[in-house]
Symmetry: D2
């Protein structure tokens, strides 16, 4: 069944394998009238590009995007926007081994169980390159959100045992260093930790945080399409994510109501909250505070130590994975988290427009 | 926009407010031929019924289910199954106060922001009674999964600071005590903790674990409809859940690849894994191991201490919530987690049936 | 798979069999703030009620609707509206015969092929009573459309060989006579024709027309969700409909461009069309003219003549259908066509609200 | 809102404008294991290619398809198949005039009303070139249906006043002549008629018939997703279609039950029908007979006669359309009807696989 389509109104369809001829996305349901050019999308793609630091694979992927449809005279027309990125750095020969066995922590085995065979080159559809389509679509969603004054910002919260100091957050720092951490001191420590991992032929996990600012109250639908439920799906659908939190997240389980409840109060004539344990969402609907979520990523499963596994003919074997692999997923995943969040927030904003009869009357009979 | 419909093939539509005349669910897409009677559903509903312990509200809700359609001669017909539960214990007068203000930690404010007004009686649509529809539908999904040899089992993992000992798990214990914990010793400690919370006019959070056994490998769709993404949405859509984990969950962020990867090996002629850090899902697709997830619930927001908030006219006020409220959500939520998991797993199994051309040929041209 | 859910934003889920305990619908996605009471819905249901004329079955079905959720203080709350109609006139014994054989023109055989068995009482889910849910939901859609100044009106265009004179259309006539024809003269002729059919133990087909007035231009989505495509599905999904037309319909196949094109011209400062061969839809999007569609219904398949068929054990047999059956579907189907049209038009209006960035900015940042 | 995605399990997303850089489709949900190469798709595209007869535009569009993803070692992998066709014959200068006015019978006005502006070059998204994506996806669906022994065949039934003789049907004739008619005699007459139309600077409408053979009984879902309802939407979504019929279509309205009912009888030990007025569908579900549908196309709206219309500034004007336009839509639309039918039939077959518990048990626990 179809698994590569996401969204209700702002709907994206991604496609492409790691070593196919291209990778891309079709965005259907983007409102008409948004100024959009390839540079708007390219700058997001560049943030996930490999080769930009010592902690990302040294593959040279230019990942240049081409807009094929949906734009006329510099603006979105309301019809599908098709985006294409050619795969240019395929070294399929690196992967000839893995055709015959199942790499631990990868989707090799599960794809074979599902489909009977798989495109094993570079992980095929389960490769991290699949996120190119997400990021390209997220660039469009982010640009549209900006028009509404809403910002979505993700950064690296932790790498292995190294966490940022929440009081030192500086987003410009995060955008310029090699870890994506908004805290120079933590970033240095994390770099040292990653070097150690690499020396040990090992890999590290980490945490990405994402904050949505200026989202109006009232966004999200009750029951199954709660804003946090949809964000949960969006984030958990990113490869290597094993946990998702909103607000205080797992800490709420050991909290008490008296401390976990956020008191409302009047601030400059507006209803506000004294604290934000809830992470900006109550009953699945935004409350006007910052929406704060976290994604927990597992360590890159491709490590250079010898590992035990089985092959397709059912024999226990030992393997040594070759090729070019990042020692950590997190640094390049920051922009993916940002993209999936932006798409989900935008989709929820669009869905919310039909919540009240008065608004509909005002729209059609102003 | 519609937010009360869930699922792709096995689709459920829930409806009903806490103090309306009834609450229910329509299950569309249930395969024909499943033996089903009201008792099958009632026994699930009884597990979420209030009044069954000292830690659940003393409201008397009989919550008797009536099957209105979709069954003929004791079997599902393939057409929609409509299930109805009358609300019988409405004491709306308890709620007259809350019409005018916004309870901290509740959806009062966000519903008003979204819709312009709200059915304030007992929380209306955002009440925990909304889960009756989920549990009733989950009972059907669970019964169908049993026919396939698949079991879904949830229990209380932690209440406040008290966690179970994973080596003491005994599900029968969990089904018979007042905490839902599968560990008698932890359960006693948790009872003591909850009594303390009640004496303090406070409430507690907790964790629910859920395990799916005997799920075949190959279930789940790549990219956006990953099995863990769909489970994440299913669980995060339950009121009061603030975090979701699969397998080792948040711990993976501080792990290394060498320890987090689960090695494959041959066991009795079958491909198996030596460990299950992944929680049974690789690349979004089941790997044949147990699927293990966790839901983190916040403390009940209705507490009996005085709280600060604002009213609808924008004044800072102090409130004292009355009525009957559970000091903890978790104990009654266990069956809700189980229901949402069962529905999601079943839906994924149904979706998977069209993955391979060979299976389709075998179906239509055996 | 699920087949009883319809709509994208205004989503309806119908359920119920002819001889089950009840029949109903859940409407999810209805905007908040619409005044709604049971009488609003009952008056639509009364238009499809049997027993109201000599050409409808003399079964006494009171078909009283109960609103179970989604309304508070007389207004829709934005949450699901659940509507229930109890089945009160079940004489299942009339149908004991048909358990064993396949009635020509009915869905008995196809349901058995699909599901392995069927609820044979009164046609089960394929009974005309299934339309109760559609009509109840359509009543809500119609009421909401009225708030926008849009009207949807259906009437009987033809019964067997008797057609109305388009110049004599009087909707009040259609609402008061026994044929639903808006032309008294044609109605008399049609009555005579129907009596003749009944004397011959036969049944008749007919045509229902439906006109949508005051629909703004710009409604409908390009490509697959064209307004006429969605109307086509809505109308073809009504039992017994075998053809669907928009505007000039089948006549366009023998027309020329020079006569079929509708010229635009300025009328009172507004863009208008001199003719309306297109039936108000160009490129799948409304053009501001009346939307005009037609549904062609086959004759009631239950006739009292002896018929040839086969039984479930594969023998050729002759049958005589008993029970109470309308000699024509059309007269009671008028309100069903109106309901499905209203639901589809409303859903398209809601979908259109996110077409332009300017409107979205105006909504969120006025 | 999104309008360019179609299907439930076999889901297609089309994109592209007439004069953009490319046009294409993404097919998500295609089962794994189907042999597929570009030639399989190209031969369908060639059937809709212009320039192949005197009745199609003399634009030279090579319309060569490139497969970008979803195929590995010659077989579908179960992941999205992305297909791309570069636009090579854009003469946008031909269309500079139409930027400023609204062509009668076209979507110029309605797109402007919906989106505020439009890509006017060659009709943009509302161009007939939009069907390239449909046909490419239909080629895949057709190939998969062949594996199940099911064939979908469309042909021209009528052009203006010239209809084929149903007793002379020869599909090879239809595939080789310039009208798509399976009757050489009718085809000659139709050619003469079309030449006459062209001499008159006029255009003609026509009818396309489509027959599905060997479809098993039981396909289609009750109520809203009836097989004929879904086919109705699929066909009505093709530009220029104004009516849709199944089986006897509009004729049923003037028929009687005694003649319209198809008697079942035993034929060679199988349940069969003596006639097929129903067109192979009863109660929305296939009955094992041929499924027979018809699409009625309006004449090409672009004619070379002077026409009256208005411009964007609201003035009455007279226009003379230039450029290259087919005098009839039908001949090139035959393969589009076939494609949309194949996609819908395949999707319905896939949906049906979860109808019975026994089949599901047999699948997972054989």
């Amino acid at each position: 069944m179809s698994g590569s389509i996401y969204g209700n109104i702002f709907k994206i369809t991604t496609w492409g394998e790691s070593h196919g001829s291209a990778i891309g996305v079709v965005v259907d349901g983007c409102p008409a009238g948004l100024s959009l050019c390839e540079e708007d999308i390219q700058k997001f793609l560049d943030r996930r590009k490999p080769g930009s630091s010592q902690f990302t694979t040294q593959r040279k992927e230019s990942d240049s995007v081409e807009i094929l449809s949906g734009i006329f005279e510099g603006k979105t027309t309301g019809t599908p926007i098709s985006l294409l990125v050619r795969n240019t750095s395929q070294r399929s020969s690196d992967y000839s081994d893995i055709a015959s066995y199942y790499r631990p922590g990868h989707a090799d085995y599960t794809f074979d169980m599902k489909y009977g065979f798989r495109d094993y080159r570079g992980g095929g559809r389960s490769s991290g390159r699949e996120t190119i389509g997400r990021v390209a679509a997220g660039a469009i969603a982010s640009k549209l959100l900006e028009e509404l004054g809403i910002t979505v910002t993700a950064y690296t919260e932790a790498i292995g045992p190294v966490s940022i100091n929440p009081e030192h957050i500086n987003i410009e720092e995060a955008r310029s260093n090699q870890t994506g951490m908004p805290d120079a001191e933590a970033s240095s420590k994390a770099e040292a930790y990653l070097k150690e991992c690499m020396e040990n032929l090992d890999s590290a996990g980490g945490i990405v945080s994402c904050i949505v600012k200026n989202l109006p109250a009232g966004i999200g639908e009750p029951v199954f399409d709660k804003l946090d439920a949809n964000l949960g799906k969006a984030i958990m659908s990113i490869g290597a994510v094993k946990a998702f939190e909103v607000g205080d997240g797992i800490k709420v389980a050991s909290a008490n109501g008296s401390t976990n409840n956020d008191s409302f109060y009047m601030k400059d004539g507006e209803i506000s909250k004294k604290t934000n344990h809830a992470g900006g969402i109550l009953g699945g609907i935004s409350d006007g505070s910052d929406v704060i979520i976290k994604a927990y990523f597992k360590p890159t499963p491709s490590i250079f130590q010898e590992q035990e596994t089985v092959n397709r003919t059912g024999e226990d074997i030992k393997i040594n994975i070759k090729g070019r692999h990042d020692p950590i997923v997190v640094t390049r995943a920051v922009v993916v988290v940002e993209a999936m969040t932006a798409i989900t927030i935008l989709d929820s904003l669009l869905q919310n427009m039909t919540s009240r009869l008065d608004d509909i009357k005002n729209f059609y009979r102003p």
